[in-house]
């Protein structure tokens, strides 16, 4: 009984933090402030993970998300020097905000309506189809066990995914001016096309 109350209290508190943070992300004009709001949300989610007995995930959430991802984003914000305020008063696209609001409300509304009409335990799926959650074994071990059995294939694929991320970083970080000179036959070939002027105009 008591644990349930605690859980409920924690949930409500965290939900407020999460939603507040999320709201902040889209509300603040300064991307730095948005990033910091995002941190709040991520922390809130981490605590909710704890609330749901997902201790390991809570830790990873803090370490990876706030520790790596948000820091990376902040890094880039600093690097690009785009910590100036955005103009979010004017909306050049007609009806964009209204329709976006409809979409957001609609998706949320439908999903919420959906889960509430499932009835019973809100989920209709088979119980513990992969591996039952048990209090006998530490959370990490349970995750590890499934990670290396049922999801070992997925685990291996993430390796490929991360490799791509590394290669991507290398490729995108290359400066266009650093493009190596054309090979020997370059004398016979035309020089690389300059960027189209109209492209520049649009970007200005």
């Amino acid at each position: 009984m008591g644990t349930d109350t605690v859980e409920a209290v924690v949930f409500v508190a965290c939900a407020l933090i999460v939603l507040g943070g999320a709201f902040g992300v889209i509300w603040f004009r300064n991307p730095v402030q948005s990033a910091l709001s995002l941190v709040a949300t991520l922390f809130g989610v981490a605590v909710l993970f704890l609330n749901m007995n997902a201790q390991f995930l809570a830790a990873v959430q803090v370490i990876v998300y706030t520790g790596a991802i948000v820091v990376l984003i902040l890094f880039v914000i600093m690097l690009l020097g785009v910590d100036t305020a955005d103009d979010i008063d004017a909306e050049p696209l007609v009806g964009q905000r209204v329709i976006a609001l409809v979409i957001a409300a609609g998706v949320a509304g439908l999903v919420i309506a959906g889960v509430t009409i499932v009835g019973g335990d809100l989920v209709s799926g088979a119980r513990a189809a992969t591996a039952a959650i048990t209090d006998d074994v530490p959370n990490i071990e349970q995750i590890g066990r499934v990670l290396f059995t049922d999801y070992v294939y997925a685990l291996e694929i993430t390796a490929v995914l991360l490799t791509i991320a590394v290669v991507a970083a290398v490729v995108m970080a290359r400066k266009p001016t650093e493009v190596e000179p054309l090979p020997q036959e370059s004398s016979s070939m035309e020089p690389p096309e300059p960027v189209e002027p109209e492209a520049e105009e649009v970007f200005d």
């Binding site: 439908l110 959906g114 889960v115 499932v118 009835g119 019973g120 335990d121 809100l122 989920v123 209709s124 799926g125 088979a126 119980r127 513990a128 189809a129 992969t130 591996a131 039952a132 959650i133 048990t134 006998d136 074994v137 071990e141 066990r145 290396f148 059995t149 049922d150 999801y151 070992v152 294939y153 997925a154 694929i157 993430t158 490929v160 995914l161 490799t163 791509i164 991320a165 290669v167 991507a168 490729v171 995108m172 290359r174 400066k175 266009p176 493009v179 190596e180 000179p181 054309l182 090979p183 370059s186 070939m189 035309e190 690389p192 096309e193 960027v195 189209e196 492209a199 520049e200 970007f203």
Partner: protein, 580 residues
């Protein structure tokens, strides 16, 4: 409520065993043995070849910097693609139960036929093996196109080749994904590499724009896709298609209890529809095709669609065939919108890359006809179309990459004026490929469209077939317009004054594409015979091996496979329904 077991979802026997063993040994040994999933290495070889090939290439290029050049990269990529293709052949043989002497290992008492491995995460059936081969070949052809393109653009880096291979890994994972999470990871692997490939031409600002648009929209739609998976997870209790089909065959989800699955399907369809560029999820594709380096476009137009459609068929037609009545209307609408929208928008284009982008949207509509049919006939149509489409579209973009000339910027229709006079061979090739896209007899495109229409008619969607044929007529107009421009219009300012330089590698790719298109066009029988044996199925994986030694040999595994396959019960073979 934890551990409470609902009447429908039985705890698998193995799991119970496992839990007992955990109880028994938990205290003393500290960590229980891990019941290692059965790994059919032979089936994994094509993927491993691609992945290791990419990593080795990256390593070699870094270590031997300056000593190996683009020629080596291309050769390596082609080699890897070919090896991957060749290693898929024994898997095909095994799946089809060919003469055992053909296999390089001794299958002894192994069972043949489709199976799944890695704890059911990877399905190996004719469908996945055929598409693996297709992707491997597409990689080879794309590498050829890329080679000529990169040489002209002066790009001497290795990354494009590496990304090509890694992206193909994602594609191959997708076509054999028996688990929604694996599917999602494959999709992300595939897409992530393609985002970079699109943004890679650092000289053209359009390229970065394409990359950014593709990325933002791709991330947006994969969030939807993932949310869909979450819904399905809640609705069925698992992300594994094996378990899902099993669960759905024993539990009738009606009314409220089906809502999670249905919402999940809708969201997943959104994700797929984005990848295949179905209207209204298509908007990225013209811009991205337009801006991205043309050689990359050849890849993204072919392999990405192949993988996405494969995933779609596997998830919808095989995994959720019990809900076919619910998702078929959605696909019908998507198909109609894509067919009509693609054709109408293509007509007004003046940029050939955009034009081809819209035409590929229209093609997607045709393939959707096959998926929508939710029948074996439909799957067949999808496969035939994918094979035909892959080579048509790679060939077409190979031509575009040549006509684009240095800087990759000459893509207006005007650049094709009088091409028949300036560069007859190239114009003839392009003409043939365009005619194939239009679906003229004696080209593969004809049969592709034919099977799609037949599948639709068979699945009681004759009206869809009519729409498809009408839109094909409209689309034919635009292909013919290009053909006319090439042959009957006098050369203009943008037409190359001299014959275009066709790089040898691109030339080979073009010859290959034309050859395949023509061959299928003349005698589709070999292809359809193969395709007939490539129906997707979901098979129970063999029971995990709890010996803990990890010393698994293939014979043993395949032996186990027999039991696993036989024990597949209702979920084992899932012939798609929805026919007459």
């Amino acid at each position: 409520m934890l551990g409470q077991i609902d009447g429908g979802g039985q705890l698998p026997a193995e799991l119970e065993q496992l839990l007992q063993s955990v109880d028994a040994t938990g205290g003393a040994a500290g960590v229980a043995e891990i019941a290692a999933p059965v790994v059919a290495w032979s089936a994994l070889v094509p993927i491993i070849v691609l992945a290791l090939g990419a990593l080795l290439l990256l390593t070699l290029a870094s270590l031997l910097r300056g000593r190996i050049g683009p020629g080596f990269f291309t050769g390596w990529t082609i080699g890897v693609g070919l090896v991957s293709f060749v290693t898929a052949i024994p898997v095909w043989a095994q799946v089809q139960g060919w003469e055992q002497s053909f296999l390089w290992w001794d299958p002894a008492d192994s069972a043949s036929g489709p199976f799944s491995t890695l704890g059911g995460a990877m399905g190996v059936d004719g469908f996945s093996v055929l598409l693996t081969m297709l992707i491997a070949l597409a990689v080879v052809v794309c590498a050829l196109v890329l080679s000529g393109f990169a040489r002209r653009e002066g790009d001497r880096h290795v990354e494009a080749n590496v990304l090509l291979l890694l992206s193909a890994v994602g594609g191959v994972v997708m076509v054999g994904a028996n688990d929604l999470i694996v599917l999602f990871l494959g999709l992300e692997t595939l897409s992530m590499a393609v985002y970079v490939l699109a943004a890679m031409n650092l000289r053209r600002v359009e390229s970065q724009e394409a990359g950014l648009k593709y990325f933002v929209l791709g991330a947006f739609s994969s969030a939807f896709f993932l949310y869909g998976i979450a819904m399905v997870y809640g609705g069925t209790g698992s992300t594994s298609l094996v378990d899902i089909t099993d669960f759905l065959s024993t539990n009738l989800l009606l009314g409220g209890s089906s809502v999670l699955v249905l919402l999940g399907i809708a969201l997943m369809v959104a994700g797929f529809a984005f990848k295949i560029a179905a209207v209204p999820f298509h908007a990225w594709s013209p811009d991205v095709y337009d801006g991205a380096p043309t050689a990359s476009v050849a890849f993204m137009a072919s392999v990405v669609k192949v993988a996405a459609f494969a995933g779609m068929v596997r998830v919808l037609v095989v995994g959720f065939d019990t809900f076919a009545a619910d998702w078929r209307p959605i696909l019908q609408v998507l198909a109609v919108l894509s067919l009509v929208g693609g054709a109408l928008l293509a007509v007004v284009q003046t940029n050939v890359k955009r034009l081809l982008a819209y035409s590929s949207i229209s093609h997607a509509g045709f393939i959707l006809l096959g998926v929508e049919a939710a029948s074996e006939q439909g799957n067949r149509a999808v496969l035939v179309y994918l094979v035909a489409y892959t080579f048509m579209v790679i060939g077409s973009f190979a031509v575009v990459s040549i006509v684009g000339r240095t800087g990759d910027a000459m893509h207006s229709v005007d650049a094709y004026r009088g091409l028949g006079k300036v560069s007859p061979a190239l114009a003839a090739t392009f003409t043939f490929l365009l005619l194939s896209q239009a679906g003229i007899p004696f080209t593969s495109g004809f049969y592709a469209k034919f099977y799609a229409v037949v599948a639709a008619v068979d699945a009681q969607s004759a009206w869809l077939a009519v729409v498809a044929m009408l839109s094909a007529v409209v689309a034919a107009y635009l292909y013919l317009r290009l053909v006319v421009t090439m042959w009957f219009v006098a050369p203009g300012d943008q037409t190359p004054s001299r014959g275009l330089v066709i790089p040898v590698s691109t030339g080979i790719a073009l010859v290959a594409c034309v050859a395949v298109t023509l061959f299928i066009g003349i005698t589709p029988d070999p292809l359809t015979k193969v395709v007939d044996k490539a129906q997707p199925v979901v098979v129970q994986p063999p029971a995990p091996v709890a010996n803990g030694t990890g010393d698994l040999n293939v014979d043993q595994l395949l032996g186990l496979l027999g039991e696993g396959g036989a024990g597949g019960a209702g979920g084992a073979q899932t012939p798609a329904t929805g026919g007459r």
